[in-house]
Symmetry: C3
Subunit: 211 residues, 3 copies
Amino acid sequence: METVQLFNALTTIGLFVFAISGALTALRNDMDIFGVSMIAFVTGVGGGTIRDVMLGSFPVWWIVSPSAVFICLAGAAIAILAQPLIDSRLKALIWADAAGLAVFSVLGAQAALAVEAPAVIAIFMGAVTATFGGVVRDVLLNEPPLILKQDIYATAALIGAGVYVGLLAVGVATNYGVVIASLATFAIRGAAIIFDIPSPKYARPRKSEQE
Amino acid sequence: METVQLFNALTTIGLFVFAISGALTALRNDMDIFGVSMIAFVTGVGGGTIRDVMLGSFPVWWIVSPSAVFICLAGAAIAILAQPLIDSRLKALIWADAAGLAVFSVLGAQAALAVEAPAVIAIFMGAVTATFGGVVRDVLLNEPPLILKQDIYATAALIGAGVYVGLLAVGVATNYGVVIASLATFAIRGAAIIFDIPSPKYARPRKSEQE
Amino acid sequence: METVQLFNALTTIGLFVFAISGALTALRNDMDIFGVSMIAFVTGVGGGTIRDVMLGSFPVWWIVSPSAVFICLAGAAIAILAQPLIDSRLKALIWADAAGLAVFSVLGAQAALAVEAPAVIAIFMGAVTATFGGVVRDVLLNEPPLILKQDIYATAALIGAGVYVGLLAVGVATNYGVVIASLATFAIRGAAIIFDIPSPKYARPRKSEQE
């Protein structure tokens, strides 16, 4: 498969699953059909949009690739139609989110490397691309950010982007690097979900301090 | 009237009413006078700013048109002075918001068409321009987003932008299209407020699922 | 000292203290180590990033100056290590925030003047640079924005930026202007913290109105 086709396929997957996660969150908030579609779109394209803005790649990617709109609308439609069949929307949301996280952390790092950002910035941009669609979703819906509530979330994205940058640095071909790093990210995030792995922390919260 | 004058007049109206809505929300939160002015400004220019960033139109519009600052400060001053006379700040806020929504959905779509964005993107940008000033206002003030609580809100903006793009497509002159589409949007939003029209939805929320 | 060295030194201070404030807030929310680092970074660079985007200065400043990442990580590490020694994390947070506010309001106004923005925009950009790192921090962590809860906060930033623009206008040298205006901002904010000075307001909140 050509690299550009692989990237397009992974972008489509990432958009689709993030759109589903956005739509599920919006449905839990009793939004109307257009609101659900809009949140699905914002969740899908949000992380990559923030990345493009930081890097100065204008117009942002989905302006010139309006198929993103239709992929996100398809994700919203699937979420709406499938939800009576879904046992736990929260669980479906967390797994859709994990898939998007895996794909977008790697694609985000790649986009930063493509404009010759330093490695440390590329890794950070991978995490931004992967997590900020969900952050925008949660902020718009006034929900406690999933990035906060879930252990090993931003962490998984940073590791995934780091693995990708590392693989390229040791000479692995782009196509293999993208696939290996995406699967590694999904495995890490999935293990954290299944085994409920706690992240390394330094202290218990002292919420009582907040006045 | 020249098209550019019409656009400037409508922009002034939109800025002014959104600034009032921002100031009213800030006043409800007991902010100080500079805070109120800042929220008024951010609410007024927020949607168009996000649109300009997405489209890659830099610097964003109000940097080169600082009269926007003064229009927003005037809106903040009016809100401060008028509030003892206002029966319900929430009601005044909702109607000011409706007027801003009507004007900015059409102007936002126009701005996207002006840089040759595809029709579907232009419609989406209309909704972004119209709704994201209010979203930023609500996010900054930690209030549940009005876009969420109000039925037929983003929906009205999407329809308004769609009507405008449609009118131009069938050959209606820009000036007439702008006015007709703005009035249509205001009528839709106003009807939703007055008659408390519910939006099409697919399921009741199952909030208990959120742990 | 050369102007560029002075600016770099002040930027380092601002980044460092805002990173500490971000890390302290994240620690209070029980985030994992990577989450804490990410919030520290976003708090440090957030205000200047939004300023750069508004002004159309791309790529945003820290992309080409990755030392910002390491300064913020250092701030996060200090916050993590020092927190058992800190009596009140909320108090430490407020003072770190005050120092960042002082430095970034002046640097933000300077950055806007450097691209020939009008004076009123430069003052506003100073306040944006100084306050929006903290706003992004609070929004990401779903906390009530400090900008809202603290009196004379955005106000201090606006005054600081205004003092700086005013000093340059009357012919004070850049270096002296930066230092004087920063110290003035810190003094104003510090006095507000110590003496709990209320800001000028126009009305008591009528929260009961919010349904």
